[in-house]
Amino acid sequence: MFGIPMILINLVIAAVAAMIWLALNALVLVYCERKFAGHIQRRPGPFEVGPHGALQPLIDGLKLMSKQLLTPDNADGFLFWLAPILSMIPVMLLFMPIPYGPVLTGMEVNLGLLLILAFSSFNGLAVILAGWGSNNKWGVLGAARAVAQTVAYEIPLLLTVLSISFMTGTLNLSEITAQQAGFIWDWNIWKQPLAFLIFIVAMFGETNRAPFDLAEAESELTAGFHTEYSSMGFGLFFMAEYGYMVAMCSICSVLFLGGFYGPFPGIEGWWWMLVKTYALLFLMIWARWTFPRVRFDQLLNLNWKWLLPLATFNLLATALIMKL
């Protein structure tokens, strides 16, 4: 059609869809988080804007947009404003290879998992730039924490993902999903329970969510790496955080919980993906409003002393069993 290759049109549509999907999810998640938090804390949560406060995130977004964009004195303006954008863009790409339904896949990529792992590391870079560029000591401390944390938690995450791809023999997420078709006991979670647990813990670390939100620990570092951000600079970080959460939970559903397949054959569809993703998201929100924050050395100890050896063991065991 007009000499434009089909794959390009597909890509543009997928990118736009991913953007909309991300924005929609951020809105819904903000509302869900505040409502869940409210009910966990024995209060109703947002209630004034719209029915049961349903329009609250929209109004919050508008408020954020109407605020002044402020660059602090002596800040590195280029890096400072590059950081939120750099944090946002890779998130959209994360959604590309995730199969949300039988035909609802942004882009069939044979190395989908690799693409996801590569782009999810961008967040660490964005956080470093934000902390460094904002000429704030708390920001630098937050950035330093973020570096150590993302580097550390990337490894067990990678190892668990690797054990899944050892088992399935592919890095293509659609194929991984297809292999889990059938009944509930065909899901990977039963074959790789340890990997699932490690993935969940590493997911908290990767997305900087409480109890592992050390890069922005507000009672220690005021707001960590985004201390100096105002308006949509902060808004982008905020959206990216929720984007990462959605992406990570989607990937977890694909890898371990059968993706868009239901618990028994014949009822597959995108809604299963949505249910599973949101169940995992609820778990994350629940953890945030329940647990205190871990200390930084404890966070790294947990990773290097427990997650990493366990993940390595799991990988070796998987390799051995596959070989046999």
Partner: protein, 390 residues
């Protein structure tokens, strides 16, 4: 050129300049406060960090100095009582009592029996609100958002009780020289009687949800050692001292008012760490409940004007002399020292704030720990900033 030079010289304020005078080797000097979320107000701590480790730290006070002591020298003896409600918003009743007690001692006034009981009941209820406020805020410092809502749920009930005899919810000033201003009405007594079993049910839930949490225990156990020796050097009192294993409580050791009539224990912990102070405060809440229960049983009947009958006028003129009175506040030993020259206004009012002494131990306890521990230590001292600065 001079403008730039001046700018260079004026970088940072007095404290930062003094602090930076020491040698610095790849370290970072950061200001924790005055607008830091976990300094609970406007305490400022200048910290030198090496990575995350604290090399040295120094608290800087004065951001909330309100000249309470000087105001004492310009107001009438009775007119100073509202100030006492504002020195420490956490446990104002104890401050009320300390000042009123000092003036009573100076004038040799006997307080009516019922008023003594009312003071005990209200002060202990207020101690509960103080500890609940600390409990919620401390867990918030450690990164858990939810417990403060539960604590405030109970605190709200206590405020509803306390607002009846004092007509205020935070800065109480209902103690008078020679008595208390208003009596507890029947509704209020009923509310207290329903609150006690309710709170007894809630405390185990707090333990289940928070105290036994592994992350929390790892955060506070063995962190911020303030032992007996340090307490002695810095003059720490209250839960900080009891958390170091010393069973010192003004209510027991220097009994004032009618505290010798009640049967209660002084909870102590030998660990001397943040967890020790945590457990002491939580255990103190139970003891306060016991005291309130006993006080309600022994409460003399309200006949006639039994709570204020010997009270002098607000424009009283105590005889020339001096008096010191100490009570056990939520944060430690509250001491008020008054000097009278026989006129309508005090010659001198000296307030001994327990938080001030406790805070001084922070720099030594925090040395060598990491930044997150500093927050845990600071929270475990239960600082109320207006009280530090007075």
């Amino acid at each position: 050129m001079s403008a730039y030079q001046n700018l260079e010289q004026m970088k940072g304020d007095f404290y930062t300049q003094k602090f930076e005078a020491g040698k610095q080797d790849g370290t970072l000097i950061i200001n924790m406060g005055p607008q830091h979320p976990s300094t609970h107000g406007v305490l400022r701590i200048v910290i030198e960090v090496d990575g995350e480790y604290i090399v040295r730290s120094e608290p800087v006070l004065g951001y909330l100095h309100r000249m309470h002591e000087k105001m004492g020298e310009t107001q009438t003896w009775g007119g100073f009582i509202p100030n006492m409600g504002r020195v420490d918003y956490g446990h104002p009743m104890a401050w009320n009592w300390a000042y009123v007690g000092a003036v009573e001692k100076l004038m040799g006034i006997e307080v009516p029996e019922r008023a003594e009981y009312l003071r005990v009941i209200m002060t202990e209820l207020n101690r509960l609100t103080s500890h609940l406020l600390w409990w919620g805020a401390y867990i918030l410092d450690l990164g858990a958002f939810t417990p403060i809502m539960y604590a405030f749920d109970d605190r709200e009930m206590l405020l509803d009780i306390l607002q009846r005899p004092s007509a205020s919810r935070l800065t109480y000033s209902n103690f008078r020289v020679g008595g208390v201003q208003m009596d507890l009405d029947d509704k209020c007594l009923e509310l207290i009687r329903t609150f006690i079993p309710h709170f007894r049910e809630r405390l185990p839930m707090y333990h289940d949800l928070v105290t036994e949490n592994l992350i929390l225990r790892r955060r506070i156990e063995g962190v911020g050692i303030i032992d007996e020796d340090m307490c002695q050097r810095y003059g720490c009192t209250g839960p900080v001292l009891r958390g170091a294993g010393v069973a010192y409580d003004v209510r027991k050791d220097e009994p004032y008012s009618i505290y010798d009539r009640f049967d209660f224990e002084i909870p102590t912990q030998d660990s001397a760490c943040s967890a020790g102070r945590y457990h002491v405060r939580v255990a103190e809440m139970e003891q306060s409940l016991r005291i309130i229960e006993q006080a309600l049983e022994q409460l003399p009947s309200a006949e006639g004007k039994h709570i204020m009958d010997k009270a002098p006028k607000p424009s009283m003129k105590p005889p020339a002399g001096e008096a010191y009175f100490a009570v056990e506040g939520g944060r430690g030993k509250i001491g008020v020292y008054v000097v009278s020259d026989g006129s309508k206004v005090p010659y001198r009012v000296k307030l001994r704030a327990p938080g001030f002494s406790n805070m001084n131990a922070f720099a030594e306890a925090a040395k060598g720990t990491i930044l997150a521990d500093a927050v845990a230590i600071l929270g475990s001292l239960d600082l109320i900033i207006p009280e530090l600065d007075r």
